[in-house]
């Protein structure tokens, strides 16, 4: 079991009001799975993604990631877990604009203390893997949207994390480019990577072997992607 969430609650205080973003989520994901987390805005899927990604900690409940209890860790320990266990792919890429593709991909390895020569080699390798061998020294503003997202995926892969966590990875791309990115994820899944993909698009969720539907801070459906994606929103 790679991910084991049980009884996860997350409550925010906005002014004097308490917002219950997650109200007791139980979810287990095995290594090698490709799981979509689907839900409308306000369903709590972003909060769940932050909790899974160790960017946020739950108010209540337990979370074991790769055997480690991460629910009560302090900020620096969480930073280490993110660095080693999780490869992020964000909707708006989140690349450093002043750095080259290579330097961006190297970044997680920099914070892991990997030597420069090893870093370069691994980042180069990751860029080749996503088909950007000829764009290594370009900066983000010299790349297309699809290429930028590939750089981001290369960055996520470079650290060889146990989990790839993608948040609306096709959200800022046209459908053709989005399709390429999904194909890349498909390949990565086939190579054995564990992928959690957060999306609001049923069509995208339908292509994942497994999907979890979130509504109002609770898991309302969990099953094969095609089935869960088709469940009406009302449920």
């Amino acid at each position: 079991m790679l991910i084991q969430l049980s009884g996860i609650e997350r409550t925010y205080t906005v002014g004097t009001e308490k917002v219950h973003a997650l109200r007791g989520v139980d979810l287990s994901i095995d290594a090698g799975e490709w799981v979509a987390i689907i839900g409308q805005s306000g369903s709590g899927k972003s909060t769940l993604m932050n909790v899974i990604g160790c960017l946020d900690t739950p108010t209540r409940g337990t979370y074991f990631l790769n055997g480690k209890d991460v629910a009560r860790m302090d900020d620096d320990s969480l930073a280490d877990v993110r660095n080693r266990e999780i490869g992020f792919v964000f909707q708006n890429f989140q690349l450093l604009p002043r750095e080259t593709a290579l330097a961006n991909v190297e970044l997680p390895l920099v914070y892991r203390g990997v030597k420069a020569a090893v870093r370069h080699a691994r980042a180069q390798e990751a860029l080749v893997k996503v088909g950007l061998a000829d764009r290594v020294h370009h900066r983000p503003n010299e790349l297309s949207g699809g290429q930028r997202q590939r750089v981001a995926i290369a960055r996520a892969l470079a650290g060889e994390p146990s989990l790839l966590l993608a948040d609306e990875p096709t959200g800022n791309l046209d459908s053709a480019t989005g399709e390429e990115i999904i194909k890349l994820f498909t390949q990565l899944h086939e190579q054995g990577h564990t992928i959690v993909l957060v999306t609001h698009e049923p069509k995208l969720a339908a292509r994942c072997p497994r999907a979890v539907r979130l509504s109002d801070g609770l898991v309302v459906a969990d099953g094969p992607g095609k089935e869960v994606a088709l469940i009406s929103v009302a449920a």
Partner: protein, 413 residues
């Protein structure tokens, strides 16, 4: 650790490259502060070295006995009213010293009249020449040398002969074409025959010109400028080792002659070249301290500039900070990144200031003919201070950056 350091340096220089003009303007406080220190220290140090060298030229193992304290004395405020009532030092005092002090090798007496005109049949100088009456031994005690002709002998002095020895500047002005020896000069309308010319010695303190002088035999001088004036007595000890003993002997003899009661201070002053150099060095220390005060203010302003630009940088780069934290940068790492950026920036300002200071010091030497020497400690201190300012004022913005929440930070544009 070292890799992280190199990485931080690279990032810091990246900021500079991204916004060179804005960065430079922000650093102006530090640049000016450091440039001020370097320039002032270069001038002071140059002056100090020159003065020490000049003073050491003024005769070895020599001290002066005078009625008046020397102008540089910083030890409290002299009681001028009391000093003016002191009895004059006389040629008889000098004679007593010569006879009663075994540690003394030779003595001379001198007395001066500044701001005098020198005239010949054809031309007249400005009223800026120093007229000095001196006994023949003065040539030994003052460490001066004769370039042409001769200095006074005992006969010149005891007979009050109308002879004069000129400094080279006076010669240049009054006798540009002919040898001055045997020529006549006039002081206050009285004629004197030139018998010698001194070697060039330059200036003390860059202002007191040792070459713009006319020497007369002491008796001649007293006859012309007033017999009742106090003279300076210049005393040369046998060697460096007997300097202290000679001073003690002279003090004892003079106190006896001037009937100073045991419990009272001496009513005359003894100054050595060393003591003059010491008071000058003390003076330069005071100026140094004052300069550093001014410079600290300037660095404070510079530090606020650093604080400002780093706060702007943290705001502008919130997203970047978010990304770095999401990818696994610990708080400390972010703190170090921004703190070292602040240090590198202000150190860069310090280095620019250093260059500017060196330039100004060089300009001072070249354009104003002023001695300058940049002391190594001032260089080290300004670099340490400027990086210190970067650290002190960069730590708060850096801590703010380190505390940012990655999710929130990544959401900002």
């Amino acid at each position: 650790m070292i890799a992280a350091f190199i990485d931080n340096m690279r990032l810091a220089l990246g900021t500079f490259r991204a916004n060179p003009l804005r960065t430079l303007l922000t650093l102006l406080g530090i640049v000016i502060g450091v440039a001020t220190v370097i320039t002032m220290m270069a001038l002071l140090e140059g002056l100090r070295l020159k003065v020490n060298k000049d003073l050491s030229q003024l005769g070895a193992n020599v001290f002066r006995v005078e009625k008046w304290p020397s102008g540089f004395n910083l030890g409290g405020r002299p009681n001028w009213q009391r000093i003016s009532k002191r009895p004059a030092l006389t040629l008889a005092d000098r004679k007593a010293i010569a006879e009663q002090c075994p540690s003394v090798r030779v003595t001379s007496a001198s007395s001066g009249q500044p701001g005098q005109k020198v005239a010949t049949a054809h031309t007249e100088s400005q009223a800026n020449v120093f007229i000095i009456g001196a006994t023949p031994e003065y040539i030994d005690t003052a460490g001066i040398e004769i370039a042409e002709g001769r200095f006074f002998n005992d006969g010149d002095d005891s007979d009050g002969r109308r002879v004069a020895v000129l400094g080279p500047d006076v010669v240049d002005r009054m006798f540009p074409k002919v040898s001055p020896l045997g020529q006549e000069i006039r002081l206050r309308g009285r004629p004197y025959t030139v018998i010698g010319v001194l070697e060039r010695r330059g200036k003390v303190l860059g202002m007191f010109n040792l070459d713009n002088m006319v020497f007369l035999p002491m008796q001649t001088y007293l006859g012309a400028y007033g017999k009742r004036r106090s003279v300076s007595i210049n005393v040369q000890a046998h060697d460096q080792a007997s300097m202290d003993k000679a001073q003690e002997e002279v003090t004892r003899v003079l106190r006896g002659r001037r009937q100073v009661p045991n419990e009272e201070e001496s009513n005359f002053e003894i100054s050595t070249n060393e003591s003059t150099a010491k008071t000058l060095n003390e003076l330069s220390n005071v100026v140094t301290a004052a300069t550093f005060g001014v410079c600290l203010l300037s660095l404070l302003v510079g530090g606020i500039g650093i604080l400002n630009i780093m706060l702007v940088a943290v705001t502008e780069r919130t997203k970047e900070i978010g990304i770095r934290k999401a990818l696994g940068a610990r708080k400390r790492r972010i703190l170090m990144q921004f703190a070292s950026e602040a240090v590198v920036l202000s150190l860069a300002g310090g280095i620019v200031g250093l260059g500017l200071g060196y330039g100004l010091a060089f300009l001072g030497r070249w354009a104003l003919d002023f001695p300058t020497a940049v002391p190594v400690w001032a260089v080290a201190l300004s670099l340490v201070m400027s990086s210190g300012v970067g650290l002190v004022f960069g730590i708060y913005p850096a801590a703010r950056a380190a505390r940012l929440d990655p999710v929130e930070a990544m959401r900002s544009e």
